[in-house]
C-alpha cells in the first residue's frame, strides 16, 4: 500500500499507478462530527485540482470536498449512500469517496506527506 498524500483542505490521496483514491482525513471527520450524507460526483466527470468535487454533510454542517488532483472520476464509493458513518469509522480506508484517473502526476508535488500534514494540523489548533 502506497503512502498517503494530503491537501490543505483535508483530503487524502492514495496513488496506485495512474489512479488516485480520494477521501477526507481523520482530522476532517473529527471536526465534522457524525457524517450523515455524502454527495459524490458522477463517474466520468472531469474534476480539477482544488475545485469542488463532492459534499460531505454532518448533523451540523455541510462542507465541500475539493479534488486534490485533476482527473476523471472513474469510481465512487457507493457504500457511503447507505452507510455514511463509514467516513467516521475508517476515513482513510473503507470511507474513501472517489477514484480519479490522474491527469497530471506533477500535481502530486503540491501535496503534503504525512509528517508535513500532521505538523500542518497541529498548527491549526
Amino acid at each position: 500500500m502506497s503512502e498517503l498524500k494530503f491537501s490543505k483542505d483535508h483530503e487524502w490521496v492514495r496513488v496506485d499507478g495512474d489512479v488516485a483514491t480520494v477521501g477526507i482525513t481523520d482530522y476532517a471527520q473529527t471536526q465534522l462530527g457524525d457524517v450523515v450524507y455524502v454527495e459524490l460526483p458522477a463517474v466520468g466527470k472531469q474534476v480539477e485540482q482544488d475545485k469542488e468535487a463532492a459534499i460531505v454533510e454532518s448533523v451540523k454542517a455541510a462542507s465541500e470536498v475539493y479534488a486534490p488532483l485533476s482527473g476523471e472520476v472513474i469510481a465512487i464509493n457507493n457504500e457511503l449512500a447507505d452507510a455514511p458513518g463509514i467516513v467516521n469509522e475508517a476515513p482513510t480506508e473503507d470511507g474513501w469517496f472517489f477514484k480519479l484517473r490522474i491527469k497530471d502526476a506533477k500535481q502530486l508535488d503540491s501535496l503534503m506527506d504525512e509528517a508535513a500534514y500532521t505538523a500542518y494540523v497541529e498548527g491549526l489548533a
Partner: protein
C-alpha cells in the same frame, strides 16, 4: 414575550455607552439634502372614535366576499372556517412566534408543523412534505428550481392549464435566474399534448389539477412520458379541498406536488397571507426547499421534534442552499392543520363532495341561461362558461347588483381577445341555492 419600548432613560444610557450625544447624531453621515426638514405629510392624529368612523366609511366602499353571493375562485376560494380555528391560532404561543430559528425550545411549534407535514404528504400522496412555503405560486416556482437541480437541466415546460399567476412567477425567476420556461398556450379546451414537447433538455413539466379552467385530468400518461425523457412531473393544486375528492397527484406519478393551502383553514385575506404546500419523493428530499421538521427522541427516550436536513438551508449552505426562502407560513399552516384535524379524513371527503354538488347545481343553473355555454366536460368546484359578450363588463354589472359573479378570464389573460368571453365561476359549501338562483336571474337580466 412582550414588546417593551425604550424609555428616555434607556436611550440616554445607550447613547452615553457608545459616546454619542443624541439620536440625530447617529444620522450624521446621511447627506443633509436627504433629510426631511418638515413634518411627514399625513393628516393630524385622530381619536379612536374618529379613526373608526373614517375607516368604516372607507371599508363600506367594498362589497365584502362574506356579504354577497360569491362565485369567485381562480386560485382563492371562499370556504367556511370554523370558529375554533381562529380561536386556537390566536393563542399567544402560536400567534406571535415566527418560524423556529431556535427550534428545540419550541416543541409545540415543531409538533404542529410535523402534523402539518404529515397531513400534506397524505393529502398529496407523496412521501415527504416541508413545513410550508409562502403560497402556492411561489411553491410552484420552487418546484421548478428543484427539478432543475435534480435533473441538472434548465428547461421547464408549463401547461396552458397552469394558473397564469403561477406561470408569471416562474417566468420572472426564469428571466433572473437564467433558465428557460416554455409556456404552452392557454388550454381552454383541455386538449393540449405536452408529451410531444418533452425532450432530453426538459427538467420538468408543470401542470395543474384541477386545471385553471376547471378541468380534471388523468396525469399518468404524462408522468410516464416525462420520466421516459428523464424529466420530472410537477403538479400544482390551487384548490386544496379538491384533494378530498380527486385522486392525489402522487398516485398519478407526480415527482413534486405543490398546492395553495388557503382553502383549508384560511380566509381570503384580500389575497394573502396564504400557505404553500410542497411535497416530493424521499429520493429527492435533499434537493427540497424549505424547513423540515423531523421526529426524534431526547436523552431520556421521550418523543420530540427537531428541524432536520438543515444543511439544505441558507444559514448553513449560504449561496448553495436549495432555496433563498428560509422561513415558512407558520400561522396559516397551523390554521390549515387545525381545520383539517377538525374535519378528519371523512369530513374532508364530505366537504369535497358538497363542493362538487354545489358546483353541479351552479352549472345546471347557468347552462339554462340563454347564450351561456358551460365549456367543461369535467370539474371539481369551478368551471368555465362562455358568454355571448365580453365577460368583464358582465361581472361589473353583476357587482352593481351585489353579486360577485366570478373571474373574467381577460383579467388574467388581458392580451388574449379570444378568451374575452370566458368567465370562471366557482361554488363552495358556502354557496346556497338562493345564491345560485340570484346569480342566474341577474345574469339573464344583464345579458
Amino acid at each position: 414575550m412582550r414588546y417593551l419600548p425604550l424609555t428616555d432613560a434607556d436611550r440616554r444610557a445607550m447613547l452615553s455607552t457608545i459616546g454619542v450625544a443624541s439620536i440625530d447624531a447617529l444620522f450624521a453621515d446621511v447627506p443633509k439634502a436627504a433629510w426631511l426638514d418638515r413634518p411627514v405629510d399625513l393628516p393630524p392624529h385622530q381619536g379612536e372614535l374618529e379613526v373608526e368612523r373614517t375607516l368604516g366609511r372607507m371599508a363600506a366602499k367594498n362589497l365584502p366576499a362574506g356579504s354577497a353571493p360569491f362565485f369567485i375562485g381562480a386560485g382563492a376560494y371562499r370556504h367556511h372556517v370554523p370558529a375554533a380555528v381562529d380561536h386556537l391560532i390566536q393563542r399567544g404561543e402560536f400567534l406571535t412566534s415566527y418560524t423556529p430559528y431556535q427550534p428545540e425550545i419550541a416543541q409545540g411549534t415543531l409538533q404542529y408543523l410535523f402534523e402539518f407535514q404529515t397531513q400534506v404528504a397524505l393529502l398529496t400522496g407523496m412521501d415527504v412534505a416541508n413545513a410550508s412555503m409562502y403560497d402556492g405560486s411561489t411553491a410552484c416556482t420552487e418546484a421548478v428550481l428543484m427539478a432543475n437541480r435534480v435533473t441538472q437541466r434548465s428547461r421547464a415546460l408549463l401547461s396552458g392549464g397552469l394558473h397564469p399567476h403561477y406561470r408569471d412567477i416562474v417566468a420572472t425567476h426564469a428571466r433572473l435566474a437564467g433558465f428557460t420556461a416554455d409556456m404552452a398556450p392557454p388550454d381552454v379546451a383541455g386538449d393540449e399534448d405536452l408529451s410531444a414537447l418533452i425532450d432530453e433538455r426538459t427538467s420538468c413539466v408543470v401542470v395543474q389539477n384541477p386545471g385553471f379552467f376547471g378541468r380534471l385530468c388523468d396525469l399518468r400518461a404524462l408522468a410516464e412520458a416525462a420520466h421516459k425523457k428523464g424529466a420530472l412531473l410537477v403538479v400544482a393544486v390551487t384548490e386544496a379541498v379538491s384533494l378530498g375528492a380527486v385522486q392525489p397527484p402522487g398516485a398519478m406519478g407526480a415527482d413534486i406536488v405543490v398546492a395553495e393551502g388557503q382553502s383549508i383553514g384560511n380566509a381570503l385575506n384580500f389575497g394573502g397571507p396564504y400557505v404553500g404546500l410542497f411535497a416530493t419523493r424521499d429520493r429527492f428530499v435533499r434537493q427540497m426547499p424549505g424547513r423540515l421538521v423531523g421526529e426524534t427522541v431526547d436523552v431520556d427516550g421521550k418523543r420530540g421534534w427537531v428541524l432536520t436536513l438543515s444543511t439544505r438551508e441558507q444559514h448553513i449552505r449560504r449561496e448553495k442552499a436549495t432555496s433563498n426562502i428560509c422561513t415558512n407560513a407558520g400561522l396559516c399552516a397551523l390554521a390549515f392543520t387545525i381545520h383539517l384535524s377538525l374535519l378528519g379524513e371523512d369530513g374532508l371527503r364530505r366537504l369535497a363532495r358538497l363542493n362538487h354538488a354545489r358546483a353541479v347545481e351552479l352549472a345546471d343553473a347557468l347552462a339554462a341561461v340563454p347564450g351561456v355555454t358551460v365549456l367543461n366536460d369535467s370539474f371539481f368546484n369551478e368551471f368555465t362558461v362562455r358568454l355571448p359578450v365580453p365577460a368583464a363588463p358582465v361581472v361589473e354589472a353583476l357587482a352593481a347588483r351585489f353579486i360577485l359573479g366570478g373571474v373574467p378570464v381577460s383579467r388574467l389573460y388581458p392580451d388574449a381577445p379570444t378568451l374575452a368571453d370566458l368567465l370562471l365561476v366557482a361554488a363552495t359549501e358556502t354557496t346556497t341555492t338562493e345564491d345560485i338562483d340570484r346569480f342566474a336571474r341577474a345574469l339573464r337580466e344583464v345579458l
